[in-house]
């Protein structure tokens, strides 16, 4: 299936991006990163280090104070987004929620139905088309939200701590499913998380961020190729990567103690 091809041009490049909010709050300082087709990148860092700010910049919800955001292959704004909350329209059925991105492009429900059902099948929700969000559990709502993000097959999917509000078991199951979904679709994802394990489990590259000012202090490659088998969570390589990443996060939290 689609594998990250590191020889290609990046689809998104951030160069020395700063973001300062009113009141001289420096949320990001000199943030640089590259996203290639097929990447699954985790932004890992403590609260307030500017992860959401970086995603909002990429989503075009606000503009950088300095620095550049390039989409070398074009396709700027061809995005899917998953927020921390499922963010579904409570008045619409599951099917109509997933229809939203097509609907805004003035594509009828009939013409979109096949694609919608495929997306729902990918997240394991076939048969739930006519349900309303309140009839679903938290994990199922999140699946609908993921189906909506990938239904248009966007160039880039942004996820901001999508599973943070879920219980541990649901969270693990969704991580498993997200991983197999990634392998099946070859989607390109930027995934914001607080969890070392989640980032190692899912991504092929982890950007560890530090606060005040928000910036990337370390890039960690996770060489395990997709699809990652069932043994990945218990493998030696996984544990080792988790330890490395955890140390990097410690350095992000306590720069003075390491003398960096």
């Amino acid at each position: 299936m689609a594998q990250p091809d590191t020889s290609t041009e990046p689809i998104l490049r951030l160069r020395q991006v700063d973001k300062t909010f009113a009141g001289n709050i420096v949320a990001l300082r000199g943030m640089s990163m590259e996203v290639r087709q097929g990447d699954f990148i985790s932004l890992l860092g403590p609260s307030g280090c500017g992860k959401s700010t970086a995603l909002r910049l990429i989503a075009g919800l606000m503009r950088a104070t300095h620095g550049r955001l390039d989409w070398p292959g074009g396709g700027e704004g061809d995005l899917g987004v998953v927020f921390q909350e499922p963010t579904l329209m409570p008045w619409a059925t599951v099917e109509r929620n997933v229809w939203l991105p097509f609907r805004l492009r003035r594509q009828s429900l009939a013409a979109s139905r096949q694609t919608i059902h495929e997306a729902l099948a990918l997240v394991g929700l076939e048969g739930f088309e006519k349900k309303y969000p309140r009839e679903l559990s938290g994990g199922m709502k999140m699946r609908v939200s993921i189906a909506r993000a990938l239904v248009t097959n966007p160039r880039l999917i942004l996820m901001d701590e999508p599973f943070a509000a879920l219980d541990e078991i649901t969270r693990q199951r969704l991580n498993d499913d997200l991983l197999s979904l990634k392998a099946k679709t070859g989607a390109t994802v930027i995934f914001v998380t607080h969890s070392v394990f989640e980032s190692v489990f899912l991504s092929n590259r982890i950007l560890v961020m530090a606060p005040r000012p928000g910036r990337v202090i370390e890039e960690i490659d996770v060489p395990e190729p997709y699809p990652r088998g069932d043994g990945w969570r218990n493998s030696h390589a996984y544990v080792e990567m988790a330890a490395r990443t955890s140390n990097a996060l410690q350095r992000a939290l306590h720069p003075e103690s390491e003398g960096v």
């Binding site: 963010t87 329209m89 939203l100």
Partner: protein
């Protein structure tokens, strides 16, 4: 309104057949029984108390031999209602017409203005003080002026009823349009929705529960506005509604007819409230918490 429970919530108090008696939780059984009793009492109690009040009214009139031009008994009021039905129903029809026309204009004007406010914060800043002034000034003090400036009695009445009724629609809908989930708003931006798409697909549905809450209040207010305005307009000849009938009956000391007209107004008010509540329930029952809660 009793709704069938969602099977998932497991709150359905229906008894499972043949249960191991040691597994029955007396506390839960007691709560379930109390809930059932409360469900019945909710409609039975008001009926009983109402019947009791009417009976007491009848007895007080009979025991004290109160003359009917002071306080007619309930029997006489019902009799009058029946005998004067042509006159009273004709007037009821006029009051209803004004009420519903005012309500319709209040909905159109209130929602229209709210949409305008949602599009432009400057429009809201500029015009919302006027809406507030109109709302807080008692209608009885504006109405005489309105009837001086406006020749057409019907239009005058309509204007009065509208002034009273439109504010809750405007205020609630404005709030509702702004209450759309901020993440969904961001999603609309990311998907490059036009202003119109944002309004249709996000803001208006978000505002629906708020609007319906406003409608419930506005329905009653439109009736009050229509009645009060007619009092102020006074004896106006053609097209006289229930308020005029009450005034007229008062001049003639026809107290039973006053009561009959009064009862018609009260019933109308209750029906309007019931109808708007039903509309709200039907519109929201699939998705909104307010319509889903059992209590």
């Amino acid at each position: 309104m009793a709704l069938a429970d969602d099977p998932r919530t497991g709150m359905n108090p229906a008894q499972p057949p043949a249960m191991d008696p040691s597994l029955i939780d007396p506390e839960e059984e007691r709560i379930a029984r109390a809930k059932r009793i409360e469900g019945t009492a909710k409609w039975l109690l008001p009926l009983v108390v109402m019947a009791l009040a009417v009976w007491l009214w009848d007895r007080v009139v009979a025991w004290n031999e109160i003359p009917h031009y002071v306080l007619p008994g309930p029997g006489l009021v019902v009799e009058t209602l029946w005998e004067d039905r042509a006159l009273l129903l004709g007037s009821l029809w006029i009051t209803l017409k004004i009420t519903f026309m005012a309500l319709a204009v209040a909905v159109i004007g209130g929602v229209g203005l709210a949409v305008l406010f949602a599009q432009s914060r400057f429009a809201e800043m500029s015009f919302s003080p006027f809406a507030v002034i109109l709302q807080v000034t008692p209608i009885v003090s504006i109405a005489p002026l309105i009837f001086i400036y406006i020749e057409n009695r019907l239009v005058g009445l309509l204007l009065c009823a509208w002034i009273v009724a439109f504010f809750p629609v405007l205020a609630n809908t404005t709030l509702g349009l702004k209450s759309a989930d901020h993440n969904l708003r961001d999603l609309m931006t990311i998907y490059r929705a036009t202003r119109w798409q944002r309004l249709i697909h996000l803001q208006l549905p978000s505002a629906l529960p708020y609007f319906l809450g406003g409608l419930k209040i506005a329905g009653g207010l439109a009736l009050i506005g229509a009645v009060v305005a007619e009092y102020v307009a006074g004896t106006g000849g053609i097209g006289s509604g229930l308020a005029f009938r009450i005034l007229e009956a008062g001049y003639r000391l026809n107290i039973p007819r006053m009561f009959a007209a009064l009862i018609l107004i009260a019933i109308t008010g209750v029906l309007i409230y019931g109808a708007t509540s039903l509309i709200a329930h039907l519109a929201l029952r699939r998705w909104h918490e307010s319509a889903l809660k059992r209590e």
